[in-house]
Symmetry: D2
Subunit: 238 residues, 4 copies
């Protein structure tokens, strides 16, 4: 699977150059320079899949490779491009604020995609069997482990036929473990720590299951890496 | 200012009773019971304002009281009601998943409002002067402190005339401090730690400034409690 | 392909009964009755496919059947259920307004899906060749026919990897033919007349093309029924 | 009240020039030219208020002037700027599609604001008394006129504390008159004909009523121009 190619790098450089032209100052005037901190300049590389793409039960190698290569790596590349655009746009004091906002929305969309996908692939590759300590902890917050799983699955089914993420997260402000319904990459709970992440964009399952999202959810659950989940749970005060 | 009133409590109880009727089982049939963990049963109380409502420069007591009493406390009450609705809905196995999703969206909307408002009021009441260490830290991520402030304000102006939040946050997955453009309470960056939060819903300023959002942003910046900001920054690896 | 089944009808009736229980009046009190006009009671039947599901070039019978049976018919059924829920909810004067709003959002989502899908299937099944009069009319508004097609395709590619609709529509308020970027079923331009509708939800193509949305767009364009498009254009003053 | 000022025109021209620089072709290469049809070049002027700004009962002159001058005229100006940006962006074949999509989203947002505001101001300035024929027509679709008004107001209250539009519209695809809940300017029902439009953005009332949206709705209803509503109804087959 690919990482950023030379062609991508050239495209990003070209985008920068074109934008620089936009903000070329008229003779004698001093134009603001583009911001230089890493909030504008950081370049992200894709995280490799933590398991072999043919290793999952009920999720095909073709699907997993397409998901990782196209949707995830595409988001990483787009995020890098958007950062460059933001830096150049900040150097243009005349750009209407609402157009800057449009770029920031793209940043939110792409960074959400990068972060959720990292977590998603990161919590797959296991045997789907939760350990006793994790079951106990989820019971504490949801009544029973089955009550947790039942709601987690129902939120997944609620997103079927569209997009979104189901995220079990620790919300320190509310002191609850919660299953979040998130409609797209821009949705989220700032301040929450993600524990288990399930992708409900149709690109996560349609190739294998068509519109049968419930069967995909079965497959997802059978491949959860509960060691990763347990490790994430240990970092919070749930 | 009020907390949950007896009338509110009665309304919540009544809502629960009405919903219980919805799921009353036909004679002889065993209906699932509602989940009982704190993800469904937690009741939240509003956090008092951390400053006197007449203490801010350029933001009127009337505005601040209205914002806290109506928008914030209203969100707290709504979140409590929604939790009860979710518990009852989970006990109804025949409810279509998309209707459950509608309730989860309300939960996301209300909990976002509660959490962002807590952070917002929590970082007001100061003198607007950032300390040297904080300025240095922001410079590291944005090039200069002014570059940070310039983008923070621009994102605020981008949301003028509508809704949303500007949130300076530490994104541990991307290892950057970032100013997030968030369109409404459902938007967020799961996993990020919020450092400084500015409300751009029109109820945060219209009563005092009409549509002049830029003047409200000036007033907000003059009242930032940088001690709170510095304390939040200390908890992250930025 | 199916229409509303007896089981669906029973489910709808059951949903109504359960909701009726919700609003049962306390002894002696007169509860409001549910609204009875067709805005609340209309029941919609799915429109049959206007072409054989195996008749399209480059879009498989399996995909088209899944799209029509699951996504479209599912939306029709959901819309009927939501209408019943709205009628019952209107009869409950104590329901918080924001929960009513949640149901109205579902109505918007489902009715958008029904209407856009009707238009989408309605403008497929042709040979992809626009007639001279239509080409001239699009040239008038976009400069050239190719300029129109180029933007229409680009908007499609912009939605790749997620959801949405590309809609060529006549906007009488602005007196322009426009290609609209619509993120999901809730997006739209009230008052505009749709002329050509392309689905970019991943369920419209992922089974056949994976993430290669551009190839799907090629296939869509090759199957456009321009006679339908021309007929729609004749109804407007473009 | 202002129309587009000379300064606005200069800004638009400057924006065009800056963008032209972006797409300047390297020596010898032929760059695509910007589209020239009116979908890209149309310039919109604001519609004057159809009543004196001090003529409404319970809605202050200050509020109405601010609403028209800032929110509405601002949207008209922004739409014109966005059109120019789209034309230039279409001339750049290397622009990533998702960034083009970001501009199209801005177009949808601004054109929605323009069209809804035109309709909103257009249906104010009356005495709030619906004629018998209109009452009969609404009764046909909602059970009774009061049932219509009750839902229209409830949808308004559902949007309180945020943004959105309540739109009574004729949906020819579903053959119903419906009250639509629309969360922001991007929401809508393509193909529907708007009959009565109520603004629930907080800038429509906060200056006069703070968070008391229900009182604003009373004021709105008292000023509806039902002659306009009746005229719009006559154009549809409701």
């Amino acid at each position: 699977m690919s990482t950023l190619s030379r062609r991508d790098a050239l495209q990003m450089a070209a985008a920068g150059a074109a934008l620089a032209a936009t903000v070329a100052s008229p003779a004698g005037a001093a134009a603001p320079s583009a911001p230089t901190g890493n909030s504008f300049t950081a370049v992200r590389e894709p995280t490799p899949l933590p398991f072999k793409p043919d290793a999952l039960k009920g999720l095909s190698e073709k699907l997993i490779k397409s998901h990782w290569e196209n949707n995830y790596v595409g988001a990483v590349k787009a995020l890098n491009v958007v950062r460059g655009k933001l830096a150049q746009a900040m150097a243009d004091p005349d750009l209407p604020a609402y157009l800057y906002g449009g770029l920031k929305r793209e940043q939110l969309m792409r960074s959400g995609s990068v972060v959720y996908h990292d977590l998603y692939f990161g919590n797959l590759g296991g045997n789907g069997q939760a350990d006793a300590a994790t079951r106990t902890q989820l019971s504490k917050h949801f009544g029973t482990f089955d009550a947790w799983e039942s709601e987690f699955r129902r939120v997944g089914n609620a997103l079927a036929g569209g997009t979104g993420w189901v995220v079990l997260a620790w919300n320190p402000a509310l002191k609850t473990l919660e299953n979040n319904w998130l409609l797209d990459h821009t949705n989220g709970v700032t301040g929450s720590t993600p524990i288990l992440v399930m992708d409900l964009y149709e690109h996560a399952f349609h190739m294998d299951y068509g519109s049968a999202a419930a069967k995909y959810i079965d497959a997802f659950m059978a491949n959860v890496n509960w060691e990763t989940v347990a490790a994430r749970l240990k970092t919070v005060a749930a």
